[in-house]
Symmetry: C2
Subunit: 91 residues, 2 copies
């Protein structure tokens, strides 16, 4: 729970999730490009990589390495824990 909330607390990480929702299975470099183009985020590759690590350990991103590429998928399941913990009275 701590991991999940901490993961979405950063604006860049939220943008990464947005990007993955829009186009699943992106690589690190692909994400860097799209984040710069479409979200106005100009962080270094390492910064994005570190964000992906955070998202991955929170379970919000699933990653798999294939050859020299590493693909990333969005996973929204962990987010359920938030609305399950506190009542939103009529979603």
């Amino acid at each position: 729970m701590d991991d999940i909330c901490h993961a979405i607390a950063d604006a860049t990480r939220r943008a990464i999730l947005d990007e993955l929702v829009q186009r699943d299975g992106q690589t690190l470099f692909e994400l860097c490009g799209r984040l710069t183009m479409k979200h106005g985020i100009s962080s270094s590759r390492q910064a994005i990589s570190q964000h992906l690590d955070v998202l991955e350990s929170a379970g919000l991103v699933i990653a798999r390495r294939e050859g020299r590429y590493k693909f990333h998928w969005f996973n929204g399941e962990p987010l359920k824990a938030i609305t399950q913990r506190w009542p939103t009275k009529g979603r």
Copy 2:
């Protein structure tokens, strides 16, 4: 959105929300006592007060002053924005 995610990113603030869900309309001192007793949180009154400010500006807590007391209520509405932003595929 930034306010909401930032607000729930802290464990103490999540405990405050838990407490308010369990017993709505608590005062600052009441919350301090209960957080110490039931959640093992031993922060100062000022710390809790600052947390309440954060929660209030995120819209997760509604507060009203009455005489020398200030009562706090939980409000889960803003949390909807999270699950509405990203798909959780079959809640």
